[in-house]
């Protein structure tokens, strides 16, 4: 148990230490943003978010600055990163949905009730993974103690079973989230990108994708990426510079 407490303390210290540069970046970026210098603000937030990629606020603010600077595609990429980190934040959800609608997409998939979407995205993937480990620790420790002594078994068996059920539930939830979130995602960051049937200019144009549309990156061939458009279910090759990977 001492080891567990030590690990928790170390993690808490690491979290506190990481918040200091983020706060500085947020203040400086806000100053530039309020002055209307959105490009400089976006560059500032971009550097800060690269240094502290776990800060949803930095990604969100970068998205705001990029959106105001007219770069909707890059704004969607930043909002998506912020949403992946903190899906419960209503501002992040609103801005991501607002910018996605510019590209003919919506945050909540069509046909899914909003409440179900909100419930499914109540926790981020990393939070789910953390909870899963917590439930795993609790289950194994309680189960181990139950095995040690018969007297402890009578007291701890119920708790061990509940912890086990929680572990399974969170594990399934985490797997479902991994299933709906492709491993390699990107966003179109150029206006009306032409997707071709092969990796080169000599192939025919299959379709055009608007700036800000979320895509799945299927494969890579030199300076070309094969993308799949999630909503329409089509795929094609686009220049790598036209896609920002999330």
């Amino acid at each position: 148990m001492n080891t567990l407490l030590l690990a928790v303390s170390l993690a808490a210290c690491a979290c506190y230490a990481g918040s200091v540069p983020a706060q500085t970046a947020l203040s400086e970026g806000q100053r530039l943003y309020d002055l209307g210098d959105h490009r400089s603000a976006a560059a500032w937030y971009g550097q800060a978010s690269a240094a502290d990629p776990s800060s949803a606020a930095l990604h969100y603010d970068r998205g705001n600055a990029l959106f105001k600077a007219g770069q909707v595609g890059k704004a969607v990429a930043s909002y998506q990163r912020a949403f992946d980190l903190d899906p419960r934040d209503s501002d992040i959800r609103q801005n991501l949905d607002f910018s996605l609608r510019r590209a003919g997409e919506e945050l909540s998939p069509s046909g899914m009730p909003p409440l179900v979407f909100l419930a499914f995205h109540l926790l981020s993937e990393r939070e789910l993974a953390g909870l899963q480990w917590l439930a795993c620790w609790l289950t194994l420790i309680l189960a181990g103690l139950c095995l040690r002594r018969a007297s402890w078994r009578e007291k701890l068996l119920g708790g061990a079973m509940m912890a086990g059920a929680l572990w399974i539930f969170i594990g399934l939830w985490w797997l479902a989230m991994r299933g709906v979130t492709p491993p390699h995602r990107g966003v179109i960051v150029m206006a009306s990108v032409e997707a071709r049937s092969g990796p080169g200019e000599n192939f025919n144009v299959s379709f055009t994708a608007p700036e800000g549309r979320r895509v799945q990156i299927l494969s890579e061939n030199g300076a070309w990426l094969e993308i799949g458009v999630l909503k329409e279910g089509v795929k094609g090759w686009v220049p790598a510079s036209a896609v920002e990977e999330i």
Binding site: L10, S19, L26, S55, A56, G130, L134, I141, A191
Partner: protein, 596 residues
């Protein structure tokens, strides 16, 4: 220019009237003209339809007339189409005096409109003091044929370049060369064009040109072509039908003097059709490298400016934004510049008009787009820069135009004020409440959003090898539990397997040597230790098949230990380590020879 025009809009039925308000106007650039000069007649047909009928020209006795092209403009205002077609004609006076252009009519769907007659005074030519009527160019006496060779009459077409970009202007020149007199007006059929937009480039040009030593009277018609697609585009042959003057044939060697005499000076006409050679133009696509995102196909050399009719307004007031795109290029086919997002303004459909000029054989002019904006909110509102990109074919690069932002100071609106013209106000809410003005992104985060719990969970996920601990703990507990269960299920075997360990523990304690040996044998033989005698032990060991040598060692050590127990002596303590060594050896031997 004095304009003599008559616009007649009439209606056969109310439905027809709504569908097509047809009118026609005619104007000339001058009403007094010299005999060797020309008059430009512009006939404009307007109506609320995309396709308008051609004007029906009256027979002209006093003038030779040539078509110099047509110019059409179409505008869409609030979804309604209105178009205007201007037909340009060049009139060459035939005689001195008063010439009249009769009423010009247009008809469509039962509706008819016509112009008033136009009167033109034709004076003598300044350079030609003779009183004889000046013939039309085609009827003029041709330059006297000389000794040089060459056809009497021929036509050519040529392009000012053989290679062009998509939507770049190419000038096509048609030349009609005559070295003989023509009878009547020639009929010109322009070449068939596919894949081009065309614009006529008036006026007609007339000049003399010496070709291979022969002087020709040349009539030149120019046309601006804008290729619409890349590749090899062909320009079909142009055709001219004319009547040429031909002497009545008479045999110069005829014996009949009277035949020869009366044939002199007699001429007859002969129909002739002349065709030009087809031409090919290589059209290159606009480069894709470096193409700006807002490029919409504009080619030429352009400039863009914006202006507002007022810089102060109230909420609900209409402000007119004028965007002027000026320069050379096909302005008619250009779209309106895209307006940026202006959530603080209600933006109405733009109305565009094109003013085209054709100077120096170059299609140029301006495209003026007017957009009505109505302020939704008060404050210092800005109209962001408007951008437009075009391709400059001379410099072979894209040029991006950007206007300066415009500001309007908007005061809060008057609640009782009348709405702006063309502005449809949203229906007023019946009860006081929040009315959403526009939608925008939420403001910045000024603090990190992640809570301590979230940060802890994220860090917890990254603990790495630390997560092996609960698995190890559980495995240890499980193994321990299984071991205990195994012991519990086989006490005899467990006693036998633990015999050596227990014996050594006893042997390490002082004075328990006998107990160590006897206890070991009792555990191995599953006998109660206190009641185990040497005899019983030996019997059982023998039954287990131990060799006699081992049994002898057991007996010797057992008796040695008994003797030490019942005959204590201080000298014996000195030999105790050796004795313990013997016991240890014996225990090892027994452990090997006695299976568990």
């Amino acid at each position: 220019m004095r304009t003599i025009s008559l616009a007649l809009a009439f209606f056969l039925t109310p439905v027809l009237a709504a569908a097509q308000q047809l009118s026609v106007t005619a104007a000339v650039d001058k009403t007094q003209v010299a005999l060797d000069d020309q008059v430009v007649l512009a006939v404009t047909v307007t109506g609320q339809a995309a396709s308008l009928p051609d004007p029906q020209m009256p027979p002209l006795r006093d003038f030779s007339m040539y078509s110099s092209g047509r110019n059409q403009s179409i505008s869409f205002i609030n979804g309604q189409v209105s178009s205007s077609v201007t037909h340009t004609f060049v009139l060459i006076p035939r005689m001195v005096g008063k010439g009249v252009i009769g009423p010009i009519t247009v008809s469509a769907s039962g509706a008819t409109a016509k112009t008033d007659p136009i009167e033109i005074s034709v004076a003598k030519s300044v350079n030609q003091p003779t009183a004889a009527p000046q013939p039309a160019p085609q009827a003029r006496p041709a330059p006297r044929p000389n000794a040089a060779s060459g056809p009497d009459i021929f036509v050519t077409t040529e392009l000012d370049r053989r290679r062009a970009w998509v939507n770049e202007q190419v000038t096509l020149s048609f030349k009609f060369h005559t070295a003989i007199s023509l009878m009547g007006n020639p009929e010109y059929n322009p070449p068939k064009l596919e894949g081009f937009l065309s614009e006529d480039l008036p006026p007609l040009r007339h000049y003399n040109e010496v070709i291979k030593g022969r002087t020709y009277y040349v009539t030149e018609i120019k046309m601006a072509l804008f290729p619409l697609q890349a590749g090899k585009l062909s320009i079909g042959p142009a055709t001219v039908h004319c009547q040429v003057q031909q002497d009545v044939s008479a045999d110069p060697f005829a014996s009949d003097f009277f035949d020869k005499f009366f044939a002199q000076g007699l001429t007859t006409s002969k129909a002739k059709t002349l065709n030009t050679q087809p031409l090919t133009l290589q059209v290159d696509p606009i480069p894709s490298a470096g193409r700006p995102p807002d490029f919409n196909g504009a080619v030429g050399r352009l400039s863009l400016s914006t202006s507002l009719d007022k810089t102060r307004a109230k909420v609900g007031d209409a402000v007119n934004l004028t965007m002027t795109l000026q320069g050379s290029g096909n302005l008619k086919s250009l779209g309106n510049p895209d307006l940026p997002q202006m959530p603080s303004w209600r933006v109405f459909d733009p109305v565009a008009s094109v003013n085209e000029e054709k100077r120096g054989d170059l299609v140029q002019g301006s495209r003026v787009t007017r957009t009505v904006l109505v302020a939704r909110v008060s404050g210092e509102l800005t109209i962001p820069p408007i951008t437009l990109s075009y391709f400059d074919p001379d410099q072979r690069r894209f040029v991006r135009l950007q206007t300066k932002p415009l500001s309007v100071s908007v005061a809060p609106g008057d609640a009782n004020a009348a709405p702006a013209v063309g502005y449809i106000a949203p229906s007023a809410p019946t009860a006081k409440g929040i009315s959403r003005v526009n939608e925008d992104i939420a403001y910045l985060k000024v603090r990190p959003t992640a809570s301590a719990g979230t940060r802890l969970l994220r860090s917890w996920t990254s603990a790495g090898p630390l997560h092996a601990l609960p698995f190890l703990f559980f495995a240890w507990c499980l193994a321990s539990s299984l071991y205990r269960e195994k012991i519990a299920s086989d006490p005899k075997g467990a006693r036998s397997r633990g015999a050596l360990k227990a014996a050594r523990r006893r042997l390490s304690s002082a004075g328990r040597e006998t107990e160590a040996l006897a206890g070991y044998l009792a555990d191995k033989l599953d006998e109660p230790a206190p009641s185990l005698t040497l005899r019983r032990a030996l019997d059982l060991l023998r039954m287990r098949g131990l060799p006699e040598a081992t049994l002898a060692q057991v007996r010797a050590l057992w008796e040695e230990l008994d003797s030490r127990r019942f005959a204590p002596s201080t000298d014996l303590n000195a030999a105790l380590p050796a004795l313990k060594g013997d016991i240890e050896k014996l225990l090892k031997t027994l452990d090997k020879e006695l299976p568990s």
